[in-house]
Amino acid sequence: MKALSIKNLSKTYKNGHEALINVDLDVTQGDFFALLGPNGAGKSTTIGVVTSLVTKTAGSVKIFDVDLDKHAAKAKSYLGLVPQEFNFNGFEQVKHILVTQAGYYGIRSKEAGPRADDLLKQLGLWDKRHSTARALSGGMKRRLMIARALIHRPKLLILDEPTAGVDIELRRSMWLFLQKINEQGTTIILTTHYLEEAENLCRNIAIIDRGRIIENTNMKSLLNRLDKQTFIFDLKAPLPSDIDLGDINYLQIDDTTLEVELSKNENLNAIFAILSRQNIEVSSMKNKANRLEELFLSLVEKSEATLGSAETKSEASS
């Protein structure tokens, strides 16, 4: 079953800006799905339409086969949203925020109270349950928004940049939490600017640029398309000046650091063999950039070049 099905979705704002142009997107039940794109590409508008915060110009949205236009209440009851910006009443107490949100979904406070307690404990907010929301740190506010989105146990959870501005330790604990609820059956759609996050968590991915979906595939096959990767090698000793590294495509950054480019048909063993022959010891190695990041940039650049030239042609002809 499809958790989300978007067909021919378009949104043109009053100022004439076309934020979405005939977007088609399907997300399967149980998936952990990444929706990526540069700033202003249309990610938040797409999420806005799905969550009824933005009025669409054309197209249809179905959530678990329920049409959002025809049966809004039922479709909305399946959804949980963690928005990009903090959007709770800062003067309300943490637990009240959760119990109130549950009430909007028809859950009595008698049932919502224990659910809220459970979520607050899981997300490390139990000690803050009587604090006002504005007294929380940035990371706590993010976790509160996750708790609020889950209070009615949605089947589809949408997270719009949930880890923006969150420190690495907390980000990793949030990843574990999201992976756990995904394993328990909640479908998750994630937008993020941390591509490492998308690569680690998501099984399928769509990339949106200038209001159009330019890629929609599974993460593995997308990463397999990577033509080349760049690695940083830290050497144990300085590289001799007369060294010959044969066919290795490299750049010497400093005495003990090499940047090595590896094409798709090469492998690291061959590189290490050459280095070993020259008695060069590698103490550590890392990818220069995240693999998904490299692909993302190349796809967006390609799309912008294509759309840019199409726009230039259309302007010239008009």
Binding site: H96, Q101, Y104
Partner: protein
């Protein structure tokens, strides 16, 4: 059942809000209305003598209570709904399966609750200055509730259009306050020249104050049936318009 729980949740949140900030919501009307009783009722009223067959303090008490009710019903919805927009926590409601009529009903009920709460406080305050006897309990209660509904709806529409906190202060300052003072709170329109009596008939607050005064004292400048008809018509028109704005997403949805 789900809708009833959602409505009750929204109303509870609204009541909790105005109780939490009681120094801003409940205390000022109590102080202001006490001053009205002291200055207009006691100091000036003792020189005015009788009005409508009652001493002046008795005569103005229903108007002062009604003034507190409508101002607070209006202010509660206008400030709460606009704050929800301003802080974006209105999105909590918009993403949830709460129908628009229920969002409207919840906020209006919150306005009625504050209006009646403040009305009760002012009534208690008035007992320190005058005795109150209610002649027609049904008329008194229904008129105060209908007036609170009408002005809560007005506050809701104001908040939907408002783009800044200044814009939710403009209508109370430049429209609501003058209409209240000219609505027969402190005088009978029979004291006015005929032209101004006719002009006063276009002021909806005149009907509320007089019908409420009729409920409490048994005297009114206008026919009570006309007052009910006008207020109910206004409620139907305002609630239809507020729902239209909500369905359209004015000021809420891009």
């Amino acid at each position: 059942m789900n809708n009833w729980i959602a409505f009750r949740t929204l109303l509870t949140r609204e009541v909790r809000r105005f109780l939490r900030i009681w120094p801003q919501t409940l205390l000022p009307p109590a102080i202001t209305m006490t001053l009205y009783f002291i200055i207009f009722g006691n100091l000036i009223g003792s020189r005015i003598g009788e009005m409508g067959g009652f001493n002046y303090m008795n005569y103005i008490a229903p108007g002062i209570i009604m003034m507190a009710v409508i101002n607070n019903a209006y202010a509660n919805v206008a400030s709460s709904f606009y704050s929800a927009k301003f802080q974006s926590h209105i999105e909590e409601l918009l993403v949830a399966p709460v129908p628009n009529y229920l969002i409207l009903a919840g906020y209006v009920a919150g306005g009625i609750a504050r209006g009646l709460f403040v009305g009760l406080i002012v009534t208690i305050v008035s007992l320190f200055f005058t005795s109150i006897e209610i002649q027609h309990l049904g008329i008194t209660i229904s008129m105060v509730v209908l007036s609170a509904i009408m002005f809560a709806l007005g506050g809701f529409i104001n908040a939907m259009y408002a783009q800044s906190f200044d814009e939710i202060a403009i209508i109370p300052t430049f429209i609501l306050t003058p209409l209240t003072y000219l609505g027969g709170v402190f005088y009978s329109i029979s004291l006015l020249p005929e032209f101004w009596q006719n002009v006063s008939l276009f002021n909806p607050i005149l009907y509320m104050v007089n019908a409420f005064r009729y409920g409490m004292l048994g005297v009114s400048d206008i026919k009570v049936e006309v007052a009910f008809a006008i207020i109910i018509s206004c409620i139907i028109a305002l609630s239809s318009f507020a729902l239209y704005l909500l369905n359209k997403g004015t000021g809420l949805r891009n």
